[in-house]
Amino acid sequence: MTDSSRLSAHELAAQLRTGDLSSRDATTTAIEAAERGNRALNAWLSIDRERALAAADAADARLRAARASGPAAVDALHPLLGVPVALKDLVSIKGGQCTAGSRILEGYRAPYDAHVTERLREAGAVIVGKTNMDEFAMGSSTEHSAFGPTANPWDLERVPGGSSGGSAAAVAAYHVPLAIGTDTGGSIRQPAALTGIVGMKPTYGRVSRYGIVAFASSLDQIGPFARDVRDAAALLHAVAGRDERDSTSAPVPVPDGLLHLTASDDEAAAGLRGKRLGLPKEYFVAGMEPGTEACVRAAVDALEAAGAIVEEVSLPHTDYGLAAYYIVAPAEASANLARYDGIRYGPAARDGDILANYLATRGAGFGDEVKRRIMLGTYALSAGYYDAFYVKAQKVRTLIKGDFDAVWAAGFDAIVAPTSPGVAFRFGAKMDDPVAMYLNDACTLPVNMAGLPGVSIPCGLADGLPVGLQFIGAPWTELALLELARGYEGLTGSAEWRSLEPTDLALSLDPAVPTPVERAAAGTHA
């Protein structure tokens, strides 16, 4: 069997079309890689071999039929047909588990498919399984999963970022070429940065959230992970667009250009010429790691050398973003998570009166971080504090959005910035200090507060660990952002760090290696 695990989705698609590779073989390879690597990484919460192979066989049948019909039929096939993909475990698959990383959804079986699940099925993509995440997507390290943390394939003693850490690790470790995540304050971009892959948070309203477990409804957005920009664009294209079951999904056309990003590195890099990029001085935050800053500044210099026009800009309310976000997001979460009451689904205490049952079910079902956020949100929305906290934060949100609007009004094509203030950190390093954990999102959460698209792409290593470069754009400019990202990718196509595989990739396949749960437990005693 061909070792297809190193192939990108578009390389896989090309081999599937010629018949050099079958989807069954590619899917079997993906499942075996996921199963072998999962002891060390804990990236997957479930792998559904049976349904994946059935989907692969169906894809192979479609591929055979198209080949029999001729080149036009082959050309008309969807680029994701037969390609393995992972879903964060908050995306509903009918009949499947959907834990959102929480005990309170243990045993729950989704009664219907999410919109993104339907779209991936229509495309013929092969859903391999569900990935680990911080509980209810609340966290920046995946350590808040009720099912144990995920490890980073670059260093098994470090986190992969979060909350979509399982999806990021599964793609970075070559289990699958593509994965779906969600991003409420950075939960796609930050783990993409920390694991050295591409991750995009689209414009608010770009992808329907129907069938996704909600965290903070004015901020949540679904997006793609991939190992290169073209794959991320193809996955976004597959899932984006209006769906009337999510009233916030916008009737804005999805550009087909997402499927046609250039394959030529030189052509992509040439497209950077004349692009006006704003470099926000406030994003080089206090406490930023010097190695990360140096890496990002070198990337910006490279963009400039390639002909981009980089000018410093100011987003003066950046510093207020964190506080405003940590009011808005917990407030919305406290309302969204009120539904977990043990009445209709999930584990339930049944031996008291209705109030006692609520208290016991929720007290036992939610983890520490979720409880913290529900408490914060409930307090911020409670009588006497609503104006002081929630309305104040929403007003600050207006100011943050205004900062970005001024940059677009000044004619900039995009903003270029760090994705995260530092590289992947060790298990336990920030678990006892919620505010330190929250600071991870300082460069990503303003983008959610303003509803904008942002993409993180790898820009090198600091201390042997991946660093992410973020492009942020005006609403609905995903294609332009991905062209910029593809330009930087092309520009650095022959850079030495691009050829490096995650340092602990081989170790992650060692059956004797400690699990992340064991490492995290050891870390708290260190």
């Binding site: 009664p111 608010y204 913290r372």
Partner: protein, 98 residues
């Protein structure tokens, strides 16, 4: 900026229907107050004349035709219920039976 007493933490937990242990309440008292200190930064900004933003992409009145479509079959909708009787979910009595 406000600070939370231990009793207030317990009150908020009750409002949120979270059954918390004494140890959890103590830990949360410290953590929540530390987070509230960070919120104090927002007071630096004069937002008197600023309108709040609840939704960023300025969509208005997304409407659809009022057409009946099939819902989940009862069996599927109730499949996850911890306890059911016929087509109903069983919950503890809310009013005392007389």
């Amino acid at each position: 900026m406000a600070t939370l007493s231990r009793d207030e933490v317990a009150h908020v937990a009750h409002l949120a229907r979270l059954g918390l242990s004494e140890a959890e309440l103590s830990r949360l008292e410290g953590q929540l107050n530390h987070i509230l200190e960070q919120y104090a930064k927002l007071a630096e900004l004069d937002t008197e004349a600023i309108a709040p933003t609840a939704q960023t992409i300025e969509l208005e009145n997304i409407l659809r035709d009022d057409v009946a479509t099939p819902s989940l079959p009862v069996e599927e909708a109730l499949a996850n219920a911890p306890e059911r009787r016929g087509d109903f979910i069983v919950v503890p009595a809310i009013m005392s039976g007389e």
